[in-house]
């Protein structure tokens, strides 16, 4: 092999099809609508909690898909379940129910732990 003084750098692209993510699969089984999300951000834009905190349902869904729940799950503790996001979702996802299901699948203890911090 020749050393040219530079080389290939691995791609930063994450191939979702290669990610082993049993928790998200379980969430998808309970809440099939999660796959309908197009990450438009309407939920985040209308979120009352998001005005004062870092809460963003769009980011939560994306990070769960990518198996990076630890990064965004703590956001959910700010959710007040007001349901405004449910009204604006163009895909008709029952977002409030989805948030409750996330809590069940990813463990209420886990969420509680984060809330106690």
């Amino acid at each position: 092999m020749i050393d040219f003084g530079y080389g290939l750098t691995p791609s930063a692209t994450l191939k979702i099809e290669n990610v082993q993510n049993p928790l998200f699969e379980e969430l998808h089984r309970r809440e099939p609508d999660v796959a309908k999300c197009i990450a438009c951000g309407s939920c985040t834009a209308s979120c009352s909690a998001g005005v004062f905190t870092e809460m963003s349902l769009r980011r939560v869904i994306l990070s769960l898909q990518r198996g990076r729940e630890k990064e965004t799950l703590p956001m959910l503790r700010h959710c007040m379940l007001c349901g405004k996001c449910l009204l604006v979702c163009p895909r008709g996802i029952n977002t409030r129910h989805l948030i409750l299901s996330i809590g069940k699948v990813y463990g209420p203890d886990g969420l509680k732990e984060e809330a106690d911090r």
């Binding site: 092999m1 020749i2 040219f4 003084g5 530079y6 080389g7 290939l8 750098t9 791609s11």
Partner: protein
């Protein structure tokens, strides 16, 4: 969608290309990388199609490489371009065609800047007058040379001696078409098919009998850029881009790649050697690479030009597998002979990528 609606939308992606009387400017780097491409372009247009294409030895670089690598300021680049336009005006032409995609992007950018900021145009006119005592008109039509070959693709197909078809199987050749980023990504309305559906090379391939491959990274940059190549330490970024494209196109088993930019064919060609030497991987059949061509070279092959007169021996990746597929006759012993029949120096062959 109803058919008429589709036709109407597609018509908005078309570009008006005059058929005759062009002022032609060459590319700085294509003449060394692909020495016969521009000569072939002029020969096809003048001799085969009987068009009036004017060329002057007084034209210079457009300043693109220096501008994009921040070696010269914008005003200097604009004054260089103003001088090119002055040469066109003095020769009595209004249609401007350039061989280089970087130049094409730059001309489009300058014309757009002057339209937006007339005071800038006035300043450049003054600079040019002070420096050279020349005046200029902005071209009525600006085209890239591939636009003209696209425009006359069916006329070329009528004169074709060979088609982009596998002679042994009768199947169309599987072709990757790669458009230079500065062709229509910056100013979509300036390119055939816009930024979303660039059709300039796909149209040629389809007219000449090939099949265009649609693969995931089809519109990804070849990796040339300017700064990521000019600085040696950054070249890993450049080769990684090319690698990404090859990994993406590999499952579709392309027979060849056609490009319309000076940098793209060079990098898609040479980086195959670097990737092979670094990783041992090749992307063509039987240890060969995927041959990469400029659109003039492909037009020349289709019209029956001798492959060695087209300068195909200067490619890193061997072109012989494709010539065999198309059934184009060639003399292997003449590959490294110059125009006068004198033996040129033979290159050193690489270790991991097969060359003929």
């Amino acid at each position: 969608m109803i058919y008429q609606g589709k036709q109407r939308i597609w018509s908005e992606y078309q570009k008006e290309i005059p058929t005759d009387h062009w002022f032609y400017v060459r590319s700085c780097i294509r003449q060394s990388f692909f020495p016969a491409s521009e000569k072939t372009f002029l020969e096809i247009l003048r001799q085969r199609l009987g068009k009036d294409v004017y060329e002057t030895p007084h034209h210079t670089t457009c300043g693109g490489i220096a501008y994009h690598s921040e070696a010269i300021p914008q005003e200097t680049m604009m004054t260089i371009i103003a001088r090119q336009f002055a040469l066109m005006t003095e020769a009595g032409y209004e249609n401007y065609v350039c061989s280089c995609i970087t130049s094409f992007g730059l001309y489009s950018e300058v014309i757009e800047d002057w339209r937006e900021f007339p005071e800038l145009e006035a300043k450049i006119r003054e600079n040019l007058w002070k420096a050279t005592k020349r005046e200029f008109k902005i071209p009525t039509y600006l085209a890239h040379a591939s636009d003209l070959i696209y425009k006359f693709r069916n006329e070329i197909a009528e004169q074709a001696k060979f088609r982009l078809v596998n002679k042994a199987t009768g199947e169309p050749l599987r072709v990757v078409e790669h458009i230079g980023c500065h062709y229509s990504k910056m100013f979509p309305s300036k390119g055939v098919g816009g930024a979303e559906y660039p059709y300039v090379l796909a149209g040629m391939v389809e007219s000449w009998g090939g099949e265009v491959i649609d693969y995931p990274e089809r519109r990804h940059c070849c990796g040339f850029g300017f700064r990521q190549y000019l600085v040696r330490a950054n070249r890993g970024y450049s080769v990684s881009n090319t690698h990404k494209k090859f990994e993406s196109m590999e499952p579709f088993k392309p027979d060849m790649i056609i490009t319309n930019c000076p940098g793209c064919p060079y990098f898609l060609d040479r980086w195959q050697y670097v990737i092979a030497e670094q990783t041992g991987k090749t992307y063509g059949q039987d240890g060969y690479g995927i041959p990469v061509f400029t659109y003039e070279e492909v037009a020349g092959l289709v019209l029956g030009y001798d492959p060695w007169d087209l300068g195909l021996q200067t490619h890193q990746v061997a072109v012989e597998p494709l010539l065999d597929k198309m059934g184009i006759p060639y003399k292997p012993e003449d590959k490294y002979k110059g125009l006068n029949g004198k033996e040129l120096q033979r290159p050193e062959f690489p270790m991991n990528i097969k060359c003929c």
